[in-house]
């Protein structure tokens, strides 16, 4: 129906001493599936509660399309929210649970019945409608909680706060595909909070990464993987996380200790000299027969055989480097090995924010 826009929204639980959500301005586009990803305590749930109206932000304004809803109650915003564990009216049947939000809003009986049956059909609950809700298993109960949100046809958005936490691993996949199916069928805006990167990356059109109450990057799953804009995104997404090596920028050349790694290319022009950090994902570190640029030479400490791939751990001057290479890599612990970085995928970070990338040194071949 409409985009959800946050304007300078921030929240503090202790009168401004600490901020659970840092001031942020962003738009959640209509009918897209978003994943809000971040570690525990990063403000994901706070942000969700601000959107649904359970929490009034300390500062900032919220818009649903061109209607300002900052001061409007949860009930008035027409939001559906699903919590970490199933929240049901336990004394009621599945049917009554689904009908409850409509009855509270004084919908005519016939409309209520039609909506309840439509939603039950969509969620595969039709044959469960007259069972007491407390007799269902946790997965079904969570589906009923979701159904209570979907039963209002005009919901502005469906917010899901780690909804699969209590669900068995086996059922999780079914539930996730069910959610995707519902998203496709209903076209609601979906915001899905999770701390599980796989869940976020497989589920969403857009992933919003939150850390310490601030959005560090938002984009499509591949962007977050291939081109992290922030060190946190590098760490948090990917398994194992991005290699981060402390380096020094001197005369346009990136050095780790005494070794020259490559030539610095600033994002918006030249980079002033000084300390930087090299960020390169283990997937983009290759074994090389000779010294390459951009790249490093290091002593192999350990080779983890994972079957389909090997993780080669190496060290130089106290810097730790991991390479994810095809299984059966021919390198032995204790030997000195040359590593090459894929040129487009080796980045420079300063103050945790991406500031450029590393290219091959002149006169030497890149890999």
């Amino acid at each position: 129906m409409a985009d959800i826009r946050l304007e300078g929204v921030a929240h503090s639980y202790d009168d401004g001493k600490t901020w659970a959500v840092q001031p942020m301005t962003m738009t959640w586009e209509h009918a897209k599936a978003y994943a809000l990803l971040g570690p525990s305590g990063c403000g994901k749930t706070t942000l969700l509660n601000i959107i649904s109206g359970l929490l009034k932000p300390t500062t900032g304004r919220i818009w649903f399309g061109d209607r300002e809803v900052t001061g409007i109650s949860t009930a008035g915003r027409n939001i559906a929210q699903v919590f970490q564990f199933p929240v049901l009216y336990e004394g009621m049947s599945v049917y009554d649970n689904l009908a409850f939000p409509l009855r509270n809003r004084k919908f005519p009986r016939a409309d209520t019945d039609a909506r309840v049956r439509a939603v039950a059909e969509l969620l595969g609950l039709t044959d469960q409608l007259h069972r007491p809700s407390r007799r269902l298993d946790a997965g079904r109960q969570q589906i009923v909680s979701l159904g209570r949100g979907l039963v209002r046809s005009d919901v502005a958005a469906v917010l899901l706060d780690e909804p699969l936490t209590v669900i068995d691993t086996g059922l999780k996949w079914t539930m996730r595909s069910k959610l995707k199916e519902i998203h496709r069928d209903t076209g609601h805006t979906l915001i899905y909070v999770t701390h599980d990167q796989t869940e976020a990356l497989t589920f969403a059109d857009r992933v919003v990464v939150l850390n310490a109450g601030a959005v560090v990057q938002s984009g499509e799953p591949t962007d977050l993987f291939l081109a992290p804009e922030h060190e946190f995104v590098g760490h948090f997404i990917g398994s194992p996380g991005m290699n981060m090596l402390a380096a020094e920028l001197v005369d346009g050349v990136v050095r780790v200790g005494a070794a020259a790694v490559g030539r610095a290319l600033g994002t918006g022009g030249g980079l002033p000299p000084g300390p930087v950090r090299i960020g390169v994902r283990p997937e983009f570190v290759r074994l090389a027969a000779a010294p390459t640029s951009p790249g490093l030479t290091a002593r192999v400490a350990e080779v983890e055989r994972m079957g389909a791939y090997d993780l080669v751990h190496a060290g130089t001057d106290g810097h730790h480097l991991v390479a994810k290479v095809a299984g059966g890599a021919r390198c032995a612990p204790g030997t000195v090995q040359h590593f090459g970085f894929v040129a487009e995928r080796a980045f420079l970070f300063r103050d945790a924010v991406r500031c450029g990338r590393i290219a091959a040194l002149e006169g030497r071949d890149g890999s």
Binding site: L54, S73, A75, F83, Y89, F100, N104
Partner: protein
């Protein structure tokens, strides 16, 4: 099948039963032996410690036909019923109104719990004075301000009302605290979901809070039934069972028979029937309430 194979291979050793011995000994001394003494009394006519006569179930027959005992039984049952009807809804109402979080919580808890900390006979004394028409604030207010003639020492209804009100004042806090504990155990998400579903305050109470209070209210009703059915000290201090026998509950009558008249045989039979009735009612009540919940 697996049980038989394990018992074949396991060494037989029943010495673990000795671990139960301390419990057996303490229960024997605190409950079983005193109870058996009463059973012993209840089947004898005792003239003096050396001179006693076995009378079988004669005392039980007599007590169950005794008019005074019967009217005291009905009176006590009526009192318990009124106590439950007043204290349970009132306690739940107080619990719902108590703050859920913040600095007001400890204050509210202490204020509500205050009556529970006062010893029974002190509660009796407080109300005995409070309800007096001449020097008691409550009694004086009813007589002089409201203009209603109130005297619990002379009027049976006034005496009944005083004792009932005193019990409500003394024990509603217990129901309130139990209900409050039950309410506190409801996760916030339930209330948030209710806000999203546009539920009214009444719906929140009816569909979220009340169903979750079932367990604690079962306990509260049981405790309040048993306690009020066995009430002794407070009416004894306030009215002494009077005027006439308007507030003469079973316990008061029992102590009159046992200690006042020293009729140990009838008192023993009386005690056992009293005890059995409380046990059976509590058991039936508890079973019914816990079964229907499933």
């Amino acid at each position: 099948m697996s049980a038989s194979t394990t018992s074949d291979t396991k060494p037989r050793n029943n010495r673990a039963w000795f671990l139960v011995l301390p419990v057996v000994v303490s229960v024997a001394f605190t409950a079983v032996i005193p109870l058996m003494t009463v059973v012993n009394y209840s089947v004898q006519d005792i003239f003096s410690p050396s001179d006693r006569l076995f009378v079988g179930l004669e005392w039980y027959r007599q007590i169950s036909r005794d008019g005074e005992v019967r009217s005291a039984f009905v009176r006590t049952l009526l009192f318990s019923l009124q106590v439950l009807l007043l204290e349970i809804p009132l306690g739940v109402a107080v619990a719902v109104m108590m703050p859920r979080r913040g600095r007001a919580v400890p204050v509210a808890l202490v204020v509500v719990a205050l009556p529970l900390l006062i010893p029974w006979n002190v509660v009796g004394t407080i109300w005995q004075i409070f309800a007096r028409g001449d020097i008691g604030l409550g009694g004086w207010a009813i007589n002089s301000v409201l203009g209603i003639n109130f005297n619990y020492a002379l009027d049976a209804t006034d005496a009944w009302a005083t004792v009932l009100l005193m019990d409500v004042w003394h024990w509603t806090p217990l129901v309130a605290l139990l209900a409050y504990a039950g309410l506190r155990s409801i996760p916030d998400a339930y209330f948030q979901a209710a806000r999203i579903d546009a539920a009214s305050a009444w719906s929140v109470f009816r569909y979220i809070q009340l169903p979750r209070l079932r367990g604690v209210l079962t306990i509260a009703i049981l405790l309040r039934f048993m306690d009020s059915f066995m009430i002794y000290t407070e009416p004894f201090v306030v009215t002494g069972g009077g005027p006439g026998n308007a507030t003469s509950f079973l316990s008061i009558l029992l102590s009159k028979v046992a200690v006042g008249q020293f009729d140990l045989g009838p008192a023993g039979a009386f005690s056992l029937m009293f005890f059995l009735f409380v046990q059976v009612v509590s058991y039936v009540f508890f079973t019914v309430l816990t079964r229907t919940g499933r």
